[in-house]
Amino acid sequence: MKVGDVGAHELAGRLRGGLDLDTGPFVVRIETPIAALAEEVRALYRDFPLDEGGGLADFHVVVLHPPGPLGLRRWWRRQATVILDEDRPFEPLPADMAVPMLEWSINWCAATRANQYVMIHAAVLERDGRALVLPGVTGAGKSTLCAGLAHRGWRLLSDEFALIRPGDGALMPWPRPISLKNVSIDVIRRWAPDAYLSTPVPNTNKGTVAHVRPPADSVRRAAEPAAPAWLVFPTFEAGAAPALTRVPKARAFFRLADCSFNYESLGIRGFRTLSRMIDGCDSFEFRYSRLDDALRLVGALPLPPAIA
């Protein structure tokens, strides 16, 4: 059964007691009494299956309104706070930030606990079985590019995490909602008028944030990994002419390692996994200002030569 198949009222009830969501590589247990958050979970995760694995979750995220001193926060300037098992990595925030907090919390869980993978802060998309990896620092336009391509024939693997399986170097999909910031929100609304976006939340520490529901087909294929083919480091620059520049392998290696959450902590396994990825990929820097250019240029990249 999928999230969207459960009625709104029933889903809110189940979220109050904890709902196990099968997001692909991880089962996430979300527990929240916040009705507005339940509604957004229902919309953003509509196509995800409920987990039927018998109650074993990988991440446990509780989002609630903290009572505050004397319980005053229940009535005045309500907040939302997250509890991840015994960890509380974030300060409580205004209640309307519950949706981004939930998403950041799930990311935090993966980044700190999923060392069975080599993890890169990158968007990943796939076409014809081969993957495009877009590593990026905040503000580089990674998520905009990701949402743009995901609505023009590319399959979304992930917006935030390239999860590389050390054994064979395959990229594991984790097609969760795509996080858009500020002007990107309107860019994607125009680019993909049919896509569902959550209500924009202003004044977060990343500015205004909204999340895009991942395409249903990407969610349906969440168990199909892909082999990496192209490594593209994007930079958004207003008004710039599009330019795709090849990056030498050694330099690409270190730039990739720089974007990794856990390259150093995996020791030799991290080194071998990234080396294999670099060997099998063509790497580029990509400066762009318009999604049309990006779609055309990135879409025309030839497959890298097979390695012996």
Binding site: L56, A57, R113, N115, G267
Partner: protein
């Protein structure tokens, strides 16, 4: 008596892992993580050849914990080389304690042992030299209050924690294994004399019996009860690893010499009850002589049984909280004389008041 929940059952009998239901794993993996025992579960499963039989989600979680611990061990090994280099001109014996010792002596207790600090023991008369050499080499104080600093220097068995300015691993420099203000007074010279060199490395570790006693001293004596189960699991691994013939006789004899018979008694009692640690039958009479009066023993049984397991929603929170508070009172009581304790607790209460007020 065999009590406790699923986590204790798995530590006693890893063979029970394959039969666990997913919902049981959900609880036990969270408890193990909380108790810093996730990687130890991985080590137990691996030794028993069970990893392949476990559900893939469980395997992935254990694999991740293993990767974390492997990294910690790499960092600790590196840190120890830096400490050795910083102290090389001092001609001071460098004795590793606890996790760093298990790791460098390649003991089974190192398997899956999670830690991110290094503990060393040096002769008390060389403490100033050692501290000065470390400060020259880039270690710094972790920035505590003047009161805490004084507490460490006057009333504790270690220097205030140090950390190197370029790295994150905490270094605790001990001159004894228990505080000088406490009821039990082991003589650190005896520990240093009996310490064993590790090959040509210039490093030493405590003799097997002393290492085991140090581990037992840590149980319920340290203020960190949430780490007690990890310590008990260490004790279990040490005893199982050392259990060759002379060990048991040495253990009870050294407990007497070092004045730590009661910690040994409790350590073995709870290791046996909770983790099924094998104890040689011929030391039973010696252990029986170390026992506290029956009412005390009964109270400790009840408190430790409740306090040692990590929390989860199905456990009685209030009773556990009370048990932990009582054990903490006991810990303080054993650590310093009544007047000093009263002063210390008053200061801490006032400091807390200032922080929150």
């Amino acid at each position: 008596m065999r009590d406790g929940g699923t986590l204790l059952r798995l530590l006693r009998d890893p063979g029970a892992m394959p039969a666990l239901a997913p919902a049981e794993w959900d609880v036990v993996l969270r408890q193990a993580r909380h108790a810093s025992l996730l990687a130890r579960l991985e080590a137990l499963a691996e030794s028993a050849g069970l990893l392949a039989t476990l559900p893939s989600r469980v395997r992935a979680r254990l694999e991740s914990a293993r990767a974390n611990v492997d990294q910690q061990h790499r960092l600790i090994r590196w840190e120890v080389t830096r400490i050795r280099r910083a102290l090389r001109d001092l001609d001071v014996p460098l004795v590793l304690l606890k996790g760093a010792a298990y790791l460098h002596a390649e003991l089974p207790a190192a398997r899956g042992r999670q830690f991110n600090d290094v503990d060393i023991l040096v002769p008390v008369e060389r403490l100033r030299d050692v501290e000065a050499a470390l400060l020259r080499a880039g270690w710094e104080s972790t920035g505590m209050s003047a009161y805490d600093e004084r507490y460490y220097r006057e009333w504790s068995h270690e220097l205030p924690p140090l950390v190197h300015k370029d790295r994150q691993i905490v270094l605790d420099v001990h001159h004894n294994i228990l505080p000088p203000t406490g009821r039990l007074r082991p003589d650190p010279r005896r520990l240093l004399e009996a310490a064993r060199p590790l090959g040509e490395s210039g490093l030493r570790v405590l003799a097997p019996a002393d290492m085991t006693l140090h581990c037992a001293c840590h149980l319920f004596q340290s203020g960190e009860l949430h780490k007690s189960l990890r310590d008990l699991s260490d004790l279990d691994a040490l005893v199982r690893g050392f259990a060759a013939a002379p060990f048991w006789a040495e253990l009870t004899a050294r407990a007497r010499v070092l004045d730590v018979e009661r910690p040994l008694y409790y350590g073995l009692r709870f290791a046996r009850r909770l983790l099924g640690t094998p104890v040689a039958p011929d030391v039973e009479p010696a252990l029986a002589r170390m026992a506290p009066p029956p009412p005390v023993r009964a109270a400790m049984d009840a408190l430790v049984g409740l306090a040692i397991e990590p929390d989860h929603p199905t456990r009685p929170r209030r009773r556990i909280g009370l048990a932990r508070r009582l054990l903490s009172v006991r810990h303080h009581w054993l650590r310093m004389p009544p007047l000093m304790l009263a002063r210390h607790l008053t200061h801490k209460a006032l400091a807390r008041g200032r922080d929150t007020g």
